[in-house]
């Protein structure tokens, strides 16, 4: 067999990459270990009649990807824009739209600053776009594309942002969100709400250096469009991607778990499935994270020692647990009407609250007062829950992958902890619960094969980004193994339902001699 391309993993980036390659003439076989595509973006039934997806807010799907792959025609409905509502126990909530914030008690200064702050950050994210949509340029032995990317980046930073904004960006780019927020805002509640997006999904508190960058990573989604809670859960996005992939000619096999990437003389020759089936391939594209790909599937024996070591040293310990509650009736949140319940609700009342929540994670404990992201997807799509019932979907942090007592032991305690926090905002909700599911980072790792159960397949940190993502030597989607490529969140620019790593990887594969 010649010119067979195998994509390992049917997560959204695997689907995006496979579709681009198939459109360009590759014969693509996509192998998914689970019985269902989408990984943590798939919509699954967690209790009879109750459905949810691990990823529950869509805010960063790249427009170019959506257009190129004609996802609209393939059935994608992003859903209407939702705001973020930062909950307050007394019902005095803040509502954060992209560039406008409202809420009782916010000063004139905070109202104005929020608009400026957001537009500044959106401008920074825009300036970084040349870097986002291309392979990260090497600093040594650049090719023409790399020089072009760096040139464009330089131009956008200097002339896109302008001198003052560029200077400000360079000042804040590597520091922590705590200092930046304290310099700008007065309201604790507002600062907490902004910091939430800088730390959620990361092993970082607001005072951790690099949190401006992780915030920027979140804001990038805002320049593509509005955040939304898709009808039918994130699985609906996956379905659209699947249709597009099939239309492009991608062959999809589920329940096909790859056990091994076969390599001879540093050249990939195919994959071996669990159960022994061999599939020859000239190109193998892995949507799995770097550790899974290199350490578990390729194996250290086929790699240089320091490369393996770097891959093993990637920081990828998840810190978010996902909780799904099946509830009878619609839960009542103090001070929220039904329309507001359709929004993205967060619990992070102050910077100090978030910092204290993170402190526990440093020592292998879960937060006593976790920060929460809450959606009720059944309000968008009644089919997510039986009549008269709803699904409350919660991302809760910090819930460290390496919990000291172990997740077997600590799981129930954490559910109780999350509920006790939830009760402060939605009194009585505990009584409405008829079924529940909690996925700790360990569960997420086991179910979806993401090392450490990490949202981003590796921390979004300056030393693990750009030309160092996931590690140098594999930062341009190609790897030390000829014919093996990375296309997932482990690669530049990282996680989120963006489709960008898949897009960039396909571009790279095609430019390296694909058809």
């Amino acid at each position: 067999m010649t010119n067979q391309t195998v994509v390992i993993g049917g997560g959204h980036n695997g689907l995006v990459c496979a579709t681009y390659l198939a459109k360009a003439g590759h014969k693509v076989l996509l192998l998914e270990a689970r019985d269902q595509l989408g990984g943590p973006a798939s919509t699954t039934e967690f209790a009879e009649g109750f459905k949810s997806s691990v990823a529950h807010v869509l805010h960063s799907l790249n427009n170019k990807v959506a257009t190129d792959l004609q996802l609209g025609q393939a059935g994608l409905e992003r859903g209407e824009a939702v705001n973020t509502i930062a909950l307050s126990a007394d019902g005095n909530h803040l509502t954060l739209a992209k560039n406008v914030v409202s809420g009782n008690g916010l000063s004139e200064s905070d109202l104005a600053t929020y608009a400026n702050f957001k537009s500044d950050f959106q401008a920074y994210a825009k300036a970084l776009e040349p870097l986002t949509m291309n392979k990260p340029p090497r600093l040594k032995d650049m090719d023409t594309q790399d020089k072009f990317t760096l040139g464009k980046l330089g131009f956008k930073l200097r002339f896109g942002l302008g001198k003052d904004n560029m200077r400000e960006f360079l000042r804040v780019g590597g520091i922590n969100i705590y200092d930046v927020l304290k310099d700008s805002f007065e309201s604790e509640a507002l600062m907490g709400a902004i910091a939430f997006d800088a730390v959620m999904g990361h092993h970082m508190g607001p005072r951790t250096p690099n949190t401006v960058l992780s915030y920027l990573n979140h804001v990038r989604g805002e320049i593509y469009g509005d955040q939304s809670i898709p009808k039918g859960g994130m699985g609906q996005v996956v379905n659209a991607l699947e249709s597009a992939a099939k239309k492009a000619g991608v062959t999809i096999r589920t329940n096909a778990k790859v056990a091994k990437i076969k390599v001879e003389n540093s050249q990939v020759t195919g994959v071996q499935l669990e159960g022994g089936e061999q599939i020859a391939a000239t190109t193998v594209v892995s949507n799995a994270d770097a550790k899974q790909t290199f350490i578990n599937l390729v194996g250290g024996r086929q790699l240089d020692a320091m490369f393996s070591h770097r891959v093993k040293s990637v920081r990828a310990k998840g810190n978010v647990a996902k909780l799904h509650f099946a509830v009878k009736g619609l839960p009542k949140f103090t001070g929220l009407d039904e329309n507001q319940l359709c929004q993205r609700l967060i619990v992070c009342p102050s910077l100090r609250y978030a910092e204290h929540a993170f402190n526990a994670a440093k020592y292998g404990e879960f937060s006593k007062n976790p920060i929460l992201e809450i959606t009720i997807p059944s309000l968008k799509d009644a089919s997510m829950a039986p009549d008269g019932h709803h699904v409350v979907s919660i991302s809760a942090s910090f819930a460290p992958y390496q919990l000291k007592q172990g997740w077997q032991q600590g799981g129930d305690d954490f559910i109780a902890t999350v509920l006790s926090v939830l009760e402060q905002y939605a009194p009585g909700i505990s009584e409405q619960i008829v079924a529940k599911e909690m996925l700790s980072p360990v569960d997420i790792e086991q179910q979806y094969g993401t090392s450490g159960g990490h949202w981003h397949h590796g921390e979004i940190a300056l030393d693990q980004l750009f030309m160092m993502r996931p590690v140098y030597g594999a930062a341009q989607y190609d790897t030390p193994v000829d014919g093996l490529f990375l296309c997932g969140a482990t690669a530049h620019p990282g996680g989120g339902i963006t489709g960008i790593p898949g897009h960039n990887a396909a571009k790279r594969i095609l430019s390296m001699g694909g058809r």
Binding site: N265, S266, I295, G299, G300, R301, D304, A305, K312
Partner: protein, 401 residues
């Protein structure tokens, strides 16, 4: 003394298990630290020690040399992935000289692999390697332990070394081939004897439990006391002479080990060190293979060579030129006057001409006569063979001298 006991940072010099004897036999008390251990630079005079190695028998304490015990089901495959040479067929009782490289194919260190018993290996290295050995173990079921100070070792080298050791009570040396090892009995305790060394002559290295160290030393020096053969200790300065004669390069002295190189281009590949014969591309993947294969596509730009320098002046730190007052093509890395060959010898790194090593270069030598400085030119010819390579080095059985 175990490795952990050894780590007392308040001690300036640590003591080897042979310390009592070494201290007693040293006439000039000239010490250096080798791997933190008090090691004699000179015992009495460099000349007498040098000639012991070349004419009779010299003994040197090898204990400070880095040693690692490598065992486990994948020990051989692990080592084969670590080093550039194919050691998959290294039989028990055999030793192999190897180098290992980083991902970029630059040499980290050199050393020897001893296949002590089936599946049980010892790796000797010039520099500390535990971290590199451990991080190279991904994908292998292997145990790696440092045993530097769990083993007492002596290097017994020279034309009469076989006779001396036989007289000391070790049997079986007659049939021991170069790069072979045996487990022997010496006065009731076990000694591992390998026909290896750093002098380029007939010689052996003896390895035993530190508790028998002094007994091993005494058994060897007793041969001298009994009036049978002369046996003398060897210090670092005489070793520096014989190792150049033998053509052995030293990581850290003659080239910069890759793991401690900061500046780009200051590390060296096996090809650049003239050690291309240690690289085997036919075996399974090893660290640096891809980089070395890529390097091999292009001519090696510079190479370490052995030089015989004409005249009576040592090429101390000299620059090398393609002709007198010509273009600079290289530098001297190590040098010695060889009393036995009556020649000035050197290692040098020189630029190749499109991969071809020039056979003749010129050294500009600065020298002082009664504190007045002069310079002169010396023709240097490149040689491939070790400078000192006597027949007895490889004869089995080695003749009695």
């Amino acid at each position: 003394m175990s490795a952990t006991q050894h780590l007392d940072f308040t001690q300036i010099y640590h003591h080897s298990p042979f310390h009592d004897r070494i201290e007693a036999i040293s006439q000039v008390k000239s010490w250096s630290a080798w791997n933190g251990v008090q090691t004699a630079r000179v015992f009495d005079t460099v000349a007498s020690e040098y000639f012991a190695a070349r004419s009779t028998t010299s003994v040197m304490d090898l204990t400070p040399m880095e040693k690692y015990r490598i065992t486990g089901p994948d020990a051989n495959e692990y080592l084969n992935h670590l080093v550039t040479r194919d050691v998959s067929k290294l039989k028990p009782g055999r030793v192999s000289y190897v180098v290992w490289c980083n991902d970029e194919g630059k040499v980290i260190d050199d050393g020897t692999i001893f296949h002590l018993r089936e599946g049980e290996y010892r790796l000797c290295a010039a520099h500390h390697q535990l971290d590199w050995l451990l991080l190279s173990a991904e994908g292998y079921d292997v145990e790696i332990e440092e045993e530097t100070f769990d083993i007492a070792a002596l290097s017994v080298q020279g034309p009469t070394s076989c006779s001396v050791l036989t007289a000391a009570g070790i049997d079986g040396l007659d049939s021991l081939k170069p790069f072979g090892l045996i487990h022997a009995n010496l006065n009731g305790f076990e000694v591992c004897v390998s026909r290896t060394g750093f002098t380029g002559d007939l010689g052996y290295e003896l390895w035993c439990d530190p508790e028998h160290a002094l007994a091993m030393w005494d058994a060897i020096f007793d041969v001298k006391a009994r009036g049978l053969y002369d046996v003398r200790p060897l210090g670092l300065e005489a070793l520096a002479m014989v190792r150049v004669e033998a053509g052995f390069i030293l990581p850290g002295d003659d080239f910069n080990p890759a793991d401690s190189t900061v500046r780009a281009g200051h590390d060296r590949s096996p090809f650049e060190l003239g050690l291309g014969w240690l690289v085997n591309f036919d075996k399974p993947y090893f660290t640096g293979k891809k980089a070395l294969l890529a390097e091999k596509q292009k001519p090696t730009a510079r190479q370490m060579v052995k030089l015989v320098v004409e005249g009576n002046k040592l090429p101390v730190d000299s620059f090398l030129f393609d002709r007198k007052n010509g273009k600079r093509v290289g530098t001297i890395k190590a040098y010695t006057w060889s009393p036995i060959l009556k020649a000035n010898l050197a290692f040098a790194e020189i630029d190749t001409k499109n991969g071809v090593v020039p056979q003749e270069v010129w050294a500009e030598i600065y020298y002082s006569k009664e504190l007045e400085w002069h310079s002169t030119w010396a023709k240097c010819s490149v040689t491939d063979k070790p400078f000192w390579n006597p027949e007895r080095k490889s004869m089995t059985p080695p003749s009695a001298f």
